[in-house]
Amino acid sequence: MNEHISSAYDRDLEALQTLVMKMGGMVEDAILSSAKSLETRDIVLAEKVRAADKKIDALEEQINEDAARIIALRAPVSKDLRAILTVLRVAANLERIGDYAKNMAKRTVTLTDMAPIDGSDSALRRMSREVQEMLKDLLDAYLRRDAVLAEDVRQRDHDVDQMYNALFRELLTFMMEDPRNITTCMHLHFVAKNVERMGDLVTNMAEQVIYLVTGEMPEDDRPKGDETAFVGDVD
C-alpha cells in the first residue's frame, strides 16, 4: 500500500495499530497467566491478572479516542476506513477477552480453597493455550494483512469448542458422582465457558481481519462446535 500524501495520517494509523498490538500482547499474557494461576493455585499471579486488566481497559479507551479523532479529522475511506473499523472491533473484542481472563483469575482465588478436580486444571490450561495461540496468529494475520491465516484461525475455534464439550461432560460426571463437587465444578465450568467464549471472540476478530483485507465479511460456513446446548435433550 502506498503512503498517504499527508504523512501525519500514516503516522496516526501506525500509532493506532501499535496500540492494538500492545493491547493484544497484554491480553495474550492475561490468558496464559490466568490459566497458569488456576492450575498452580497461584493467588499472587491471579491478582496480577486482575490488576493488568485495568491497563487493558485503559488502552481500549485510548484506542477508541484516537480512532474517533482520526475519523473526525481524516474522514477515512476504503481500506483506511476498514482499518479504523477493524481497530475498533478488535479492541472491543480484546477488552472482552481481558474481562474473561480477569474472571478466571477471580475464580482462581475462590478455587484455591477447594479440592481440585482431577484433570480439569490441565485441560483448562490446554484450552487456554489453544486460544492464546489462536490470538497470537490472529494478531500476526492482522499485522501482515493475511486473510489466509485469519481464515485458519477462524476454523480452529472448532477445536476449542470440542475441548469445551469434553470438559463439560467430564465436570458433569464429577458432579453426578459426588454432590460435594458441585461448587467447584460450577466454578470450573464457568471458567471453561469463558475460555470457549474467548475463542468465539478471536473468531470475530479473524472475520474482521478478513473484511479488512478483502472488503467482504466471510460466509458463515465454519463448523459450529459447542454442542452442550443439546446435552440432556431426550431426542
Partner: protein, 253 residues
C-alpha cells in the same frame, strides 16, 4: 438497468495534439446523481462539457465517438447546440449570474426559448424554478434587485434556478460548491438531492466527501481514462482498481 439517460461510447477528445479523453464508455442513469472524480487535469470536466457540447466553442477541440441522450446522438448535424443546452443545463464552479435582476436571471432562458406565452406564465416559471433551487423564500421580496447582490451561496442557487428554468432533463454541475462556505455547500448538496427527483444530475467535484454524500454512482477519471465506474457505496468502501483506492484515500498513486 433501465435505459440509460446518457450513453457514451468510445468518446475521445483531442485539444490540438493533446489526447484529453481516451475511449470513455459510460452509461448514466436518469433520476440519479453521478459524480465524476479525479485529479486535476484528468479530463472529468472536459468529458462533462462534451455532454452539452460546450467544447464546440473551443476551436482546437475535437470530439469523436458517440454520445446519446435518450438514444439520440447529440453530435448529429441536425442537433442545434443551443436547443441541446436548454435540455442539458449547466452550473459552473463560480456563481456567474447575469448582471440583471434576480427575476431576469431566471426568466432569460425561458424567454429566449419561448417557453412562456405571457407574463403570468413567466412569473410562474420563475417562482417554480426559484422554489426548486431553494431560493424562493430568500428572494421573493427582492426579485427585482440585482442577482449579483446576493451572497455567494445564494448566487449559486440562482444559477441553479436559471439552469432549471428551461425545464432541462439533465443538469451538469462543474464543481458547484468549490467557491461556497460549508453552510452554502450543505444547502446546495441538499438541493442536488431534491433535483435528482426531476433530473439526471452529473456533478464534477474535487471533494471526495461531497461525491460520497450526494451521488449514487461515481466515475473515477485518471489521465483521460475512465478508470472505474460503479455504485458510490462500493467505490468508497471497496474500490476495484488500486488507482481509485490511492486517489480516494489520499495516497501517492
Amino acid at each position: 438497468m433501465t435505459q440509460a439517460k446518457i450513453s457514451a461510447q468510445g468518446v475521445q477528445v483531442h485539444y490540438a495534439d493533446t489526447h484529453a479523453i481516451k475511449d470513455v464508455n459510460v452509461e448514466i442513469a436518469d433520476k440519479e446523481v453521478t459524480a465524476f472524480i479525479g485529479p486535476s487535469g484528468c479530463g472529468k470536466s472536459t468529458f462533462l462539457r462534451c455532454i452539452n457540447r460546450m467544447n464546440d466553442t473551443i476551436d482546437i477541440c475535437r470530439v469523436t465517438g458517440d454520445i446519446r441522450i435518450d438514444g439520440e446522438d447529440i453530435y448529429d448535424a441536425k442537433v442545434d447546440p443551443v436547443q441541446l443546452r436548454a435540455k442539458v443545463g449547466m452550473v459552473f464552479q463560480k456563481p456567474n449570474p447575469f448582471p440583471k435582476s434576480i427575476y431576469d436571471n431566471v426568466a432569460y432562458g425561458p424567454k429566449i426559448h419561448g417557453l412562456s406565452r405571457n407574463k403570468a406564465e413567466l412569473d410562474e416559471i420563475v417562482e417554480k424554478s426559484l422554489r426548486k433551487a431553494a431560493l424562493w423564500n430568500e428572494a421573493k421580496d427582492r426579485l427585482h434587485a440585482p442577482g449579483t447582490g446576493l451572497s455567494g451561496g445564494q448566487q449559486q442557487r440562482l444559477c441553479i434556478a436559471r439552469a432549471i428554468a428551461t425545464a432541462p432533463e439533465v443538469l451538469l454541475m462543474d464543481e458547484p460548491c468549490s467557491a461556497l462556505d460549508p453552510i452554502a455547500t450543505a444547502q446546495v448538496e441538499e438541493l442536488i438531492d431534491d433535483l435528482r427527483q426531476s433530473f439526471s444530475v452529473v456533478i464534477v467535484t474535487h471533494s471526495m466527501q461531497q461525491a460520497a454524500r450526494v451521488s449514487q454512482k461515481t466515475a473515477f477519471f485518471h489521465l483521460g481514462s475512465l478508470v472505474e465506474f460503479g455504485d458510490t457505496n462500493k467505490i468508497f468502501t471497496n474500490p476495484e482498481d488500486p488507482r481509485t483506492e490511492s486517489y480516494i484515500s489520499g495516497r501517492i498513486g
